[in-house]
């Protein structure tokens, strides 16, 4: 449930609103549920509200870990096939 997508904050607007960008599409959403959002942050948007800030570092770490795991798995598989 709860379709939510990552979007970049490109402008802070009055009344706790902010403009976000998704691949060239811009839309005003409420940032009122978050604190200290700055332009350039990525946030998770759900029904017009930003629900959380996305951490670029964590994203990178996760992806790196997955890729590492994938390579190991790849080797493993090859090993199995060979075996």
């Amino acid at each position: 449930m709860c379709l939510a997508i990552p979007a970049e904050v490109v402008e802070l607007l009055p009344d706790g609103m902010g403009k976000v960008n998704i691949d060239g599409v811009e839309k005003a959403v409420s940032l009122a549920l978050l604190s200290n959002i700055v332009v350039g942050d990525y946030v998770l948007i759900h029904v017009g509200f930003a629900l959380s800030r996305i951490s670029p570092e964590e994203a990178k770490e996760t992806l790196d870990a997955l890729r590492e795991m994938g390579e190991l798995a790849g080797e493993l598989k090859l090993a199995e096939l060979a075996g």
Partner: protein, 354 residues
């Protein structure tokens, strides 16, 4: 509009229409002098051509050589003006395209206007001039028309129904029931642009994007295509309901299965972005200047080259192929490497939360 595309006769119409400030009111649909003036000063002047100028309730044109082709569509778009076009140009392009999808050369258009009382005359003129431009650019004149005015709250600005007549050369047999196993599926350019451009301007949905409607006349591309490759099995424009609806319709009509490759689908990033924002599938989003073509696989590359060289075809691509399938499903091989069914849902896609 019906009958009188003349210059203003100052004895008949003492004052010109007040286009800057005026609005369509009920007298403009009453069949009297006010209507004649509206027809003359807005429609007649813009569309001006030898057939419309006959000034009758119908137009008489020379004999046509070949099978007759006829099509009609109603245009009810809101907003009336949108990035990349307006209801007027759309009503010209859409019907030209439907006639042309048979392989025919579109010859003539008719236009029936249903106007909501209160429409600014300036808006009406802008729409009509846009239709006139579109019709002239396409070389397909609007030869006859009609105007009705309904009370406020009984229409939505203006509705336009166009009908088109064309002529089909011998030897061409193109239709939704002629698709064959082994055919390649081609699309003439990026998909979803029209629908996203419209949604971006909808009240309570408005978002900003550089995406414009792809509304365009495709008859010249089609002429080039049928000349180069008379063995085209089917042409269809994926309008309402987008690729998803059109392909399902065709799969059912021809009794085949269709397989698309997600990687091959030309979709602009902003169209993808808007679809993610709204929770909708770009395959279900409307197009107004695109066509799907089906031809034997071995002719596909040559046909693609013709399309890419034609107006509005530079982004054409081969996007899939036709298979035997008693279930007549449309499947998508995703970039991810999986396969899914492309459903034929109600095309009125709406923002979802989940």
């Amino acid at each position: 509009m019906n009958e009188q595309p003349r210059r203003r006769d100052t004895r008949l119409f003492p004052r010109p229409l007040d286009i800057a400030n005026g609005r369509v009111d009920m007298t403009h649909g009453g069949g009297g002098r006010a209507m004649a003036q509206l027809v003359s000063e807005i429609f007649g002047q813009a569309f001006d051509n030898e057939f419309l100028s006959q000034g009758n309730d119908m137009a008489v044109m020379p004999p046509a050589d070949g099978r007759l082709v006829m099509s009609t569509d109603g245009y009810v778009i809101s907003p009336l003006f949108f990035p990349g076009g307006d209801i007027g140009s759309l009503a010209v392009h859409g019907t030209i395209n439907d006639v042309a999808m048979s392989g025919a050369t579109p010859l003539y258009l008719s236009a029936s206007f249903i106007i909501e009382e209160g429409l600014p005359l300036a808006d009406l003129r802008r729409i009509v001039l846009s239709m006139a431009d579109a019709s002239r650019a396409a070389g397909v004149p609007i030869v006859t028309g009609d105007t009705k005015v309904v009370e406020r709250g009984k229409a939505d600005g203006v509705f336009i129904s166009t009908a088109g007549v064309g002529v089909l050369a011998d030897g061409l047999e193109i239709g939704g029931d002629r698709i064959q196993e082994g055919d390649a599926i081609l699309v003439s350019g990026s998909i979803g642009d029209h629908g996203i451009a419209i949604l971006s301007k909808r009240e309570n949905l408005d978002f900003e994007t550089a995406i414009e409607s792809d509304s365009a006349p495709l008859h010249r591309m089609i002429r080039a295509m049928v000349e180069a490759e008379p063995e085209i099995h089917c042409l269809r424009d994926p309008t309402r309901g987008g690729l998803a609806a059109t392909l399902n319709e065709l799969a059912n009509q021809s009794g085949v299965g269709l397989v698309l490759e997600e990687e091959a689908l030309p979709i602009k990033p902003a169209v993808r972005g808007a679809c993610e924002l709204l929770g909708i599938d770009p395959l279900g989003v409307a197009n107004e200047g695109k066509l799907l073509a089906f031809c034997p696989k071995d002719k596909a590359e040559a046909l693609l080259a013709v399309m890419q060289a034609a107006p509005f075809g530079s982004d054409a691509a081969i996007i899939g192929h036709v298979v035997a399938d008693p279930l007549k499903l449309v499947r998508l091989e995703t970039s991810f490497g999986s396969e899914r069914v492309v459903e034929w849902l109600n095309g009125e896609q709406l923002p979802r939360i989940c």
